[in-house]
C-alpha cells in the first residue's frame, strides 16, 4: 500500500463507532487516540471517564500508558492506603490482554509506616509487557528500597530510577534482553555488579555508591556512557568494545587524596589508595581500560581526585579516540598526564582542555622540565582548544610543552570564559574565543622568562566572541 493510501485508511478504518455516533465532537477520533488523551490525565480521572458514554465505558481498561503520580501531594498514612487500594484495583481490573507500554510512578513525599506497593506494581507492569518503566520518588524518601530481585522481561527497553535504594540483584539485567537504556539519578547503589548484555545507553547522575568496595559495571554492549558527580567509591568499568561516547565527571567521589591537590594525604587509617601500598587488590585500571574503545571522551575531575592519574600508570591505548576533553588534572607534574594520554591516542584529532582559575595553582609546579626523546609517531592534532578564564601561564605552559614534544597542531582555539568557576563545573557560562590558524608547528616558546603575550606571535590572531556557551 502506498504511503498516501495508508494515511487515508488509517483514519477511515479506525472509527466505526464514530460513524454511528456522528457529530463533530471528539468521537471522530479513534480509540487509541482517546486513550492517549486519557494517559495525560491523573489516573483516577481517566478511570472516571467510564460514565461519559457507552463508548467510554471500557476505554480506560486498555490504556497502554499508566502514569501514577502523587501530583505533588504529601501522602500521609491514609493517603498511602488510598493510593495502594486504587492502584491495586486498577491493575487487577484493567484488561489483561491489553499490553501496557509505559508505566510511570512519580510520588512526592510519603510519611507513613505503610509503603506504597511500588515493587508489586513494577512486577505487574512487567508482566503486562511494559516497555518503559520509570520510578521517580522524592528526595525526602531516599531510603525507599526497591526489592532486590532481578527484573524479568522480554519487552523492557527503558528503565528510569530516581531516589531509590538499590541492593542485591536488582541491577542484574541478564533476564531483560531488550533493555537498551538505563537512567539513574540520586539513587543509592549498594551492590556488587550492574550487569547487562544489551544496554546501549547508561546514565548515572548524582548517585551514591557503596563505600566499602567498588561496584563493577559489566555492560559490554554499551555505546554511550554518562557518569556525573557521583559519591562514594568510583565503580569499576569492565571492557566495553562498542563504546562510542563517554563522559565521566568525578567531583564528589571518595577516591580523593590531599597529595593530589598539593597538600598532604587526609585519608584516615592509612587506607588511601593513592599513597602507600594499598590498592584494589587487582591493580587494574578502574575507568580508563573500560573507556579505551571510545571515539569521544570527556574526563573531568576536581582537584584531589586520583583515579585518572592512577589509571594512567597502566594506561591502555585508545585506538579509536578522535575527540578528548580534559580539565586541570592532566596538568599535574608538568603535564605528564597529558603527554601520557597523547602517547596513547594515535588517531586523536581534537583535544580540548578546560581550565578554571579558582583551581589551586599548585596544580602547575614551577620545576623546569627536560624534554626527552619519546617514541612518538609524528603526532598531529587537527584542533586544539583551550577554555580558560584568563590566558595565563598555564595556557602558555600547555602550548610550550606540546611544542617541545614536536606535536603539530593544525588550529588552536582559545576560549575565554566569562562565567565563574562554579559555573564551569556545572556546565554553564559563556565564552569568547580567539583562533589561531597555523599550518606548521608553533614557534618554540622559551621556558625561562615571562610568557610572551599572544599578540607578539608571528601567527595571525582573530578575535571571535561567542554569546552562547558551546
Amino acid at each position: 500500500m502506498s504511503l498516501e493510501q495508508e494515511a487515508v485508511s488509517r483514519r477511515r478504518n479506525a472509527t466505526p463507532e464514530a460513524i454511528i455516533g456522528g457529530g463533530d465532537g471528539i468521537d471522530v477520533l479513534p480509540d487509541e487516540i482517546l486513550q492517549h488523551v486519557l494517559s495525560f490525565l491523573p489516573v483516577p480521572e481517566a478511570v472516571q471517564t467510564c460514565v461519559l458514554a457507552r463508548r467510554w465505558q471500557h476505554l480506560w481498561k486498555s490504556m497502554p500508558v499508566l502514569r501514577v503520580t502523587g501530583e505533588g501531594w504529601i501522602l500521609n498514612r491514609r493517603g498511602v492506603r488510598k493510593l495502594n487500594k486504587f492502584v491495586n484495583h486498577l491493575l487487577l481490573l484493567r484488561d489483561r490482554t491489553a499490553p501496557l507500554h509505559t508505566c510511570e510512578v512519580e510520588l512526592g513525599t510519603f510519611r507513613s509506616q505503610d509503603d506504597p506497593q511500588i515493587n508489586l506494581w513494577i512486577r505487574h507492569a512487567l508482566l503486562c509487557q511494559a516497555q518503559v518503566l520509570s520510578v521517580h520518588l522524592s528526595r525526602d524518601n531516599n531510603s525507599f528500597d526497591l526489592e532486590d530481585l532481578p527484573l524479568v522481561s522480554r519487552h523492557l527497553t527503558r528503565l528510569e530510577l530516581c531516589n531509590v535504594m538499590l541492593n542485591g540483584n536488582i541491577l542484574n539485567f541478564s533476564r531483560c534482553p531488550a533493555l537498551e537504556e538505563l537512567w539513574m539519578r540520586d539513587c543509592y547503589i549498594a551492590l556488587d555488579v550492574i550487569l547487562s548484555q544489551s544496554v546501549k545507553r547508561l546514565t548515572i547522575l548524582d548517585c551514591m555508591f557503596y563505600q566499602n568496595a567498588r561496584t563493577r559495571i559489566s555492560i559490554p554492549s554499551l555505546v554511550t556512557l554518562e557518569f556525573t558527580e557521583c559519591w562514594g567509591r568510583t565503580p569499576f568499568l569492565e571492557s566495553m568494545p562498542s563504546l562510542v561516547t563517554g563522559s565521566v565527571k568525578l567531583t564528589n567521589c571518595d577516591d580523593c587524596c590531599g597529595k593530589e591537590a598539593g597538600s598532604s594525604c587526609f585519608n584516615v587509617s592509612n587506607t588511601c589508595e593513592n599513597c602507600g601500598a594499598n590498592n584494589d587488590g587487582n591493580g587494574d585500571c578502574v575507568l580508563l581500560n573500560g573507556l579505551s574503545e571510545a571515539k569521544s571522551l570527556e574526563l573531568i575531575a576536581k582537584p584531589g581526585v586520583f583515579i585518572f592519574r592512577r589509571d594512567l600508570m597502566r594506561c591502555p591505548t585508545f585506538s579509536k579516540l578522535k575527540t578528548l576533553l580534559l580539565n586541570e588534572w592532566c596538568m599535574k607534574t608538568n603535564l605528564s598526564a597529558l603527554i601520557c594520554l597523547l602517547q596513547h591516542t594515535p588517531v586523536l584529532d581534537k583535544l580540548t582542555i578546560q581550565l578554571c582559575e579558582a583551581i589551586n595553582s599548585q596544580m602547575v609546579t614551577k620545576e623546569s622540565y627536560n624534554p626527552i626523546e619519546l617514541p612518538f609517531a609524528t603526532k598531529k592534532l587537527k584542533v586544539m582548544e583551550i577554555k580558560c578564564e584568563t590566558i595565563d601561564e598555564k595556557v602558555h605552559k600547555i602550548l610550550a610543552v606540546l611544542d617541545t614534544y614536536g606535536i603539530h597542531i593544525g588550529q588552536i582555539n582559545i576560549h575565554r570564559s566569562i562565567g565563574s568557576s562554579e559555573d564551569f563545573f556545572s556546565g554553564i557560562g559563556s565564552w569568547t574565543s580567539s583562533t589561531l590558524e597555523s599550518e606548521q608547528a608553533l614557534p618554540h616558546i622559551s621556558g625561562a622568562g615571562p610568557p610572551q603575550p599572544r599578540s607578539q606571535s608571528k601567527l595571525p590572531l582573530t578575535e571571535r566572541s561567542a554569546s552562547e556557551h558551546d
Binding site: 457529530g23 465532537g25 471522530v28 487516540i33 491523573p42 483516577p44 460514565v51 461519559l52 458514554a53
Partner: protein, 169 residues
C-alpha cells in the same frame, strides 16, 4: 536509504490537502517528525530528485498547513542546544501555536492530520491540550466540552457505578 545524489537540490515531501492545496517540507524535517515518512523512506531504494507526495484529501488546508509549520519548527528546535531557556521558549511557542483561535474542530482536524503521518510530537501536544481541557471537570462538563452524546440509560449508569465502586464516580 539512498543518499541524496551530489549536486541535487533539497528533496521535499509534499502534503496535499482537501481542495488540492500543496504544503511542502524538506525531507530532513519529515524524517525527524513523521514515523510514516521514516518507514516509507526505508523501503525506497532510489528516488532521485522526486518529491514524496502524501495525499490528505479529506483534511482542510488550515490543519495541514499547521502540521507542516509544527514539523518545521520542531526540526529547527532539535538542532539547537538544549537548555532551560530553549525549553521555556518551546513551551511559549506551543501556547501560541494552539492559541485561542484554535477551536475544537480545528484541534481534531489537526490531530487527524498528525495521525495520518504519525507525527508523534504533534499527537502528544494536542492530546495533552485536550486532557488539560477536561482535567478536574465533572462528567457533564466533560461531555459538553468534548461534544460527547450521553447515550447511557440510568440503569446502565448505575451498573457502571456499582462495578467501579472502588473509585468515586
Amino acid at each position: 536509504m539512498a543518499a541524496a545524489p551530489s549536486g541535487s537540490r533539497t528533496r521535499m515531501v509534499t502534503l496535499i490537502s482537501k481542495g488540492g492545496r500543496n504544503f511542502k517540507m524538506p525531507e530532513a524535517v519529515a524524517l525527524v517528525s513523521s514515523r510514516s515518512c521514516r518507514e516509507a523512506l526505508d523501503y525506497i531504494e532510489y528516488r532521485g530528485n522526486n518529491t514524496m507526495m502524501i495525499k490528505l484529501l479529506d483534511i482542510d488546508p488550515k490543519p495541514v498547513s499547521m502540521l507542516v509549520n509544527f514539523c518545521n519548527h520542531m526540526a529547527a528546535a532539535a538542532t539547537s542546544a538544549a537548555s532551560d531557556d530553549a525549553a521555556q521558549r518551546m513551551r511559549e511557542w506551543e501556547e501560541r501555536f494552539l492559541g485561542d483561535d484554535v477551536d475544537q474542530a480545528l484541534l481534531y482536524d489537526l490531530l487527524s492530520a498528525a495521525i495520518s503521518i504519525q507525527a508523534d510530537g504533534l499527537i502528544d501536544l494536542v492530546c495533552k491540550r485536550v486532557a488539560h481541557m477536561i482535567k478536574g471537570k465533572t462528567p457533564q462538563e466533560i461531555r459538553t466540552i468534548l461534544g460527547i452524546q450521553d447515550d447511557l440509560t440510568p440503569d446502565q449508569r448505575d451498573e457502571i457505578r456499582t462495578d467501579n465502586s472502588w473509585i468515586d464516580i
